[in-house]
Subunit: 110 residues, 2 copies
């Protein structure tokens, strides 16, 4: 379950711009702020079932976007490679300041 939450957090992060405002609200309350379905339902004055259905649909949409665009997968692969670059540089005592700053900039681009 924790693993699913982490994955959804990432997918939400990558694809939230493609969701509707309502989908964004529900997802961010549920996954980022840890609200229960009942609490979200109360907040928006809708049924718990309606919130549940909306969140399930949104999760499926996020997985579909990931299947098509692979942003999360590529992010993870890039992260590994950048870590490796750092390690190789460190192992070889190559610690040029501009180099390390550029690596950092690359990491922040995600």
């Amino acid at each position: 379950m924790l693993e699913k939450t982490t994955r959804m957090n990432y997918l939400y992060d990558f694809y939230q711009s493609l969701l509707t405002p309502k989908q964004r609200s529900y997802m961010s309350l549920y996954y980022l702020d840890d609200y229960s379905l009942g609490e979200i339902a109360e907040e928006y004055e809708v049924s718990r079932q309606a919130v549940y259905d909306n969140i399930k649909r949104t999760e499926a949409m996020l997985e579909e976007y990931e299947e098509k665009l692979l942003l999360f997968q590529k992010f993870q692969e890039r992260k590994k490679l950048i870590k490796k670059l750092r390690e190789i540089a460190a192992r070889n005592q190559f610690q040029d300041e501009e180099f390390l700053k550029t690596i950092e900039a690359l990491e922040k681009l995600e």
Copy 2:
């Protein structure tokens, strides 16, 4: 015009998985294979205007996706940073083989 073609080629590359099969066919004939609107119309037995409208709508969709996801923009920024990493390494005579291979893998991830 050449600039627009290049941009559309890139946007198409990044977001084609989000388009319908028909949109993909028209765009790839027009932008990658350099067909004219008339030739595409003939191929699909539709009016030239229909092809034109479809391509215009698809172009707008691609720009909208780019506005939301910035994949092309980030790709360009990453490319610059990777080039810089290579230059810094070369300038410092740091040419470790594993390092260069990892940089290459990073480039290919796009």
